[in-house]
């Protein structure tokens, strides 16, 4: 019997030592990624989403270091993999669609060849066989294989490249695909189109996905489970519908409210500006912007606690002694306009 | 004032640029204060030629028994002057043409680029030699003028491409929307953005000029000036047999080491300069 969680991250900390101090890009994050589901991470720019995801491939960019914690992938401890094992693990177990997919392809090598060399790096196979598979995958993302395989990356439009990247991620039938803001650079129609394809893939293959985005609307559309990150901390984790219906963390509710929508007229920004990652506030990182900040918020960092079986939240409003004060703010279910 | 402090704080943050700055300051002091501290005695003392370093002769003596260290000290002035003047001339021509070409565009740009490419296709060194014989070199100024005649095109091209990218940048576009004058755009908006580039080039051209000047001396096209590292090198290597006398190695090496360490200083410093003058990089 397989464990329900494909990935279990425990107390993961990632630091970037810089000249002017240390950036705590990811701080004591614990997260489970359930098998066969789409998990989303939302948060502002710089909140550590990509860094966290890169740790899943053991690819934290220099000068970053994994300062502590563990990542269990399907029962294996990733942080203990040897170089060779790591190389084999990458892409065959976890693949990724990059934030800047536009630049994720080698500009001087034809796309077909890039597919082949990746395949060959992991498994022995005849070239024709590989090509058959690649063609199949390209078909799947609704691209014309004959044209794409012989093209150089620059000959394709942004949307096409993004779809190539999606096909690429499926090449070795990985267990997990990380989607790092797969549509940020594209316009709405293409974005919708690509998400349709992704959802289709998910439905067909049941692959576990980790979606990183700062667009709450995208998350609402795609994710089964959402984690909210703020300044390197995971502040809330829960089922998508639950979270949108009743966000627990003030930041989460702020994010939801701050998103303009075709559905509603009202929207409300979050006050203040994101923290300087080199010099984050003491205590709860969000407290300078929080309407409900209390004296202890500036002192103590709230732990991520489970409210019920589903939702985890890191906020003093919900920690033991203050549970009753939850009423101080009203995040009761919104009445939908339709 | 704050800018100056900031500048030095950035320079000192980097080990390389600190070393570079120290070396350059050392040479600058050598050139300016050195002659006041050390007295140059050019009296020939044949009996004491090619001496090894000692307390009285820090770097030993030359082929005629004169103190090598003092020659290095006195030589630094001319070398630095030639280098700095060359860099100044080259920068003035190169930057002015490059900025003009990049900003104005169109026909003048095409013409200037044509000339620039032309200069780039004709090798510099023979031309330098030709120039050195056309305009007889008399002093550091004419030396620098000759060295800079063929030195500007590379810079022009680089400055131009910088200006062209800058020109399309939003903050310049806004200047046009706001009806700012061209002079304002050039001096207040563009120039501050290329200063770091120009400053680095100043250092780098300076260092190239010094090597070039030695080549010219080697060919005997520059005035004899024994208190110049280049000429010291020529004398040591070619004319006085320093390299045949084991005791003369220090004499031969002195100008080489002085040159090399000066250049080392230039490059190290240039590395740091980029960071210091470039607010974008200094986060």
């Amino acid at each position: 019997m397989q464990a329900a969680n494909l990935v279990e991250i425990r107390d993961l900390s990632i630091q970037f030592p810089m000249k002017r101090g240390v950036v705590q890009a990811v701080q004591n994050v614990s997260l489970d990624i359930p098998r066969g589901k789409i998990t989303a991470l939302v948060g502002e720019s710089g909140s550590g989403k990509s860094t966290l995801a890169s740790a899943l491939l053991r690819m934290v960019s220099s000068p970053g270091v994994i300062a502590g914690g563990s990542i269990k992938f399907d029962g294996t401890e990733l942080l203990k993999l040897k170089k060779r094992e790591l190389r084999e693990y990458r892409w065959s177990q976890t693949a990724m669609v990059f934030q800047a997919a536009q630049n994720a392809l080698n500009p001087v090598v034809r796309i077909g060849e890039q597919f082949i060399e990746t395949y060959v790096a992991h498994k022995k196979e005849r070239k024709e066989k590989i090509l058959d598979k690649v063609k199949h995958l390209l078909d799947y993302v609704r691209l014309d294989p004959n044209r794409v395989l012989n093209a150089y990356p620059h000959e394709l439009s942004g949307g096409m490249k993004q779809r190539v990247m999606i096909a690429f991620s499926l090449l070795l039938d990985p267990k997990l695909i990380i989607l790092d803001e797969p549509t940020t650079a594209l316009d709405v129609i293409t974005q919708e189109y690509i998400f349709n394809i992704l959802m289709q893939i998910h439905k067909d293959l049941g692959i576990t996905m980790l979606l990183l985005s700062h667009d709450i609307a995208i998350v609402a559309k795609a994710a089964d489970q959402v984690g909210v990150m703020y300044a390197g901390n995971l502040v809330e984790v829960g089922e998508t519908c639950d979270m949108f219906a009743a966000p627990k963390h003030p930041y989460t509710s702020g994010l939801i409210k701050a998103a303009p929508s075709l559905l509603t007229e009202a929207a409300e920004p979050i006050a203040g500006s994101p923290p300087n990652m080199l010099n984050t506030p003491a205590g709860c990182k969000f407290h300078p912007r929080c309407k409900h900040a209390m004296e202890m918020c500036g002192r103590e960092q709230p732990p991520l606690l489970s409210l019920d079986n589903q939702t985890l939240v890191a906020c003093h409003l919900h920690s033991a002694g203050h549970g009753t004060e939850g009423g101080a703010y009203d995040i009761a279910a919104k009445v939908r306009a339709y | 004032m704050q800018g100056v402090n900031h500048f030095f704080s950035v320079i000192f943050q980097n080990r390389r640029s600190t070393a570079g700055l120290i070396i350059l300051v050392f040479f600058k002091l050598m050139a300016s204060v050195g002659p006041m501290v050390f007295t140059l005695d050019t009296t020939v003392d044949y009996e004491n030629r090619y001496q090894m370093p000692s307390a009285s002769h820090w770097l030993g003596t030359d082929f005629a028994g004169r103190d090598t260290w003092v020659q290095v000290v006195y030589g630094s002035k001319e070398v630095l002057t030639i280098g700095a003047l060359t860099a100044l001339f080259t920068l003035m021509i190169g930057a002015a043409l490059g900025m003009f070409s990049g900003l104005v565009g169109g026909k003048p740009d095409t013409a200037i680029m044509m000339v620039t490419n032309l200069f780039l296709t004709i090798p510099a060194f023979p031309i330098l030699l030709m120039m050195a014989s056309i305009f007889s070199i008399r002093d550091p100024i004419s030396f620098a003028a000759v060295l800079s005649i063929w030195g500007w095109p590379g810079l022009t091209r680089a400055v131009r491409s910088q200006i062209i990218t800058l020109k399309e940048r939003d903050f310049i576009v806004i200047c046009r929307v706001m009806g700012m004058s061209n002079l304002h755009i050039i001096f207040k908006e563009l120039l501050p953005n290329v200063t770091s580039y120009l400053a680095i080039n100043f250092i780098l051209i300076m260092r190239g000029a010094i090597v070039g000047s030695i080549g010219i001396m080697m060919m005997g096209l520059a005035p004899y000036s024994p208190m110049n590292w280049g000429q010291m090198l020529v004398l040591a290597v070619q004319q006085t047999g320093g390299i045949f006398n084991p005791n003369g190695y220090i004499y031969v090496l002195s100008p080489i080491v002085a040159l090399a360490s000066f250049q080392l200083g230039c490059i190290f410093f240039a590395n740091g300069l980029d960071e210091a003058l470039n607010p974008r990089l200094s986060r």
């Binding site: 690819m59 960019s61 190389r87 990458r90 994720a104 392809l105 | 044509m114 060919m219």
Partner: protein
């Protein structure tokens, strides 16, 4: 390859060549106290002819008559050039510049292309290694080496090599291009001797250039390594060797191609001191002699020749560039 792109480049190149003609022409006319006047006066004195006559004779040798209006001079000069006549040496008046170039060019090409190839190959290798292993000792060593080789003019290396390997150990000949006691021709002894004699000049250039190539390549490779596609390749589990070869090197080498063309041109004209030290009969050697003797026509001819070579080397570099980099598909 786009035809109009090639044609456009060609047109630009021809224009540059034309400008180079003008420039070398003007330079010659600028020479102090007019070298031609001096030449004609000397000629008149030496051969006991009138100054007028001397001017006519000199005109024959330099391809134009300095007494004519400038544009006519230029036309005569250019039509001479079009016939492939670069003029005659001002010192040895029965020898044409064409002959000099014809005898010098093969030697220079031989030495500089080998030196360029070796230094480029090694430099590329070092550069990629430096960029790849940021923390290794290689970086500072190569940097300092490169600074030193830049600080010290290359002829100093030539002298040092000569002192050690030739004067001292006696492993290599003192100078020359081949063993004078051998028959010149396509025989093994001669060819071996040509390589043997070229060894030190080549080594000089290699020593002087390796650092630069390594640093250029390092700079280029570092920026390539910072690119997303390298990161992506790693994520795909590609082995380091493949990433280094196909991703880093292949991309990083592209901007160096133009530099390569420039370097070749620079070596054609810039090796004056080195070729002189080795008495190596290349372009720089004759250029140096011409400079020493103020043989302006020879200088002018060689300069023009080098300029033309440079222009076409650049053109070829551009073409190679667009071959290497599929993104450059110029043209409508």
């Amino acid at each position: 390859m786009n035809k109009s792109f090639v044609l456009r480049q060609l047109a630009a190149s021809l224009l540059t060549v034309f400008l180079a003609m003008i420039l070398t022409f003007v330079l010659l006319r600028l020479t102090p106290g007019s070298a031609i006047d001096a030449w004609a006066r000397g000629y008149a004195a030496q051969y006991n002819v009138t100054l007028e006559k001397a001017y006519e004779q000199v005109a024959l040798m330099i391809n134009y008559n300095p007494k004519e209006p400038i544009y006519e001079q230029f036309i005569t000069y250019v039509s001479g050039l079009l016939k492939g006549n670069l003029g005659y040496s001002m010192v040895s008046q029965s020898v044409s510049v064409n002959e000099i170039i014809a005898s010098a060019l093969p030697w220079t090409l031989f030495v500089s292309s080998i030196a360029l190839f070796i230094s480029f190959t090694i430099g590329i290798f070092l550069g990629v290694q430096m960029a790849w292993r940021r923390k290794s000792l290689l970086e500072p060593i190569v940097s300092v080496y490169s600074i030193l080789t830049n600080a010290v003019p290359d002829f100093i290396f030539a002298i040092l090599l000569l002192i050690v390997f030739s004067y001292g150990l006696g492993w290599f000949p003192i100078n020359g291009a081949y063993d004078p006691f051998l028959d010149v021709g396509f025989n093994l002894d001669f060819i071996v001797s040509v390589f043997y004699y070229a060894a030190l000049p080549i080594l000089t250039f290699v020593i002087a250039m390796i650092g630069d190539w390594a640093l250029s390549m390092k700079g280029s490779a570092v920026s390539v390594i910072g690119e997303d596609y390298v990161e992506a390749a790693r994520a795909r589990g590609l082995p380091d060797s493949v990433i280094m070869k196909k991703y880093v090197r292949k991309n990083a080498i592209i901007p160096l191609v133009t530099q390569m063309a420039m370097a070749l041109g620079g070596m054609l004209g810039g090796a004056i001191l080195v070729e002189n030290l080795f008495q190596y009969p290349g372009m720089g050697y004759y250029m140096g002699n011409a400079v020493g003797q103020r043989d302006y026509t020879v200088m002018q001819g060689i300069l023009l020749f080098i300029a033309v070579t440079m222009v076409f080397a650049n053109l070829i570099a551009d073409l190679i560039y667009s071959k290497l980099d599929p993104r450059i598909k110029t043209g409508g």
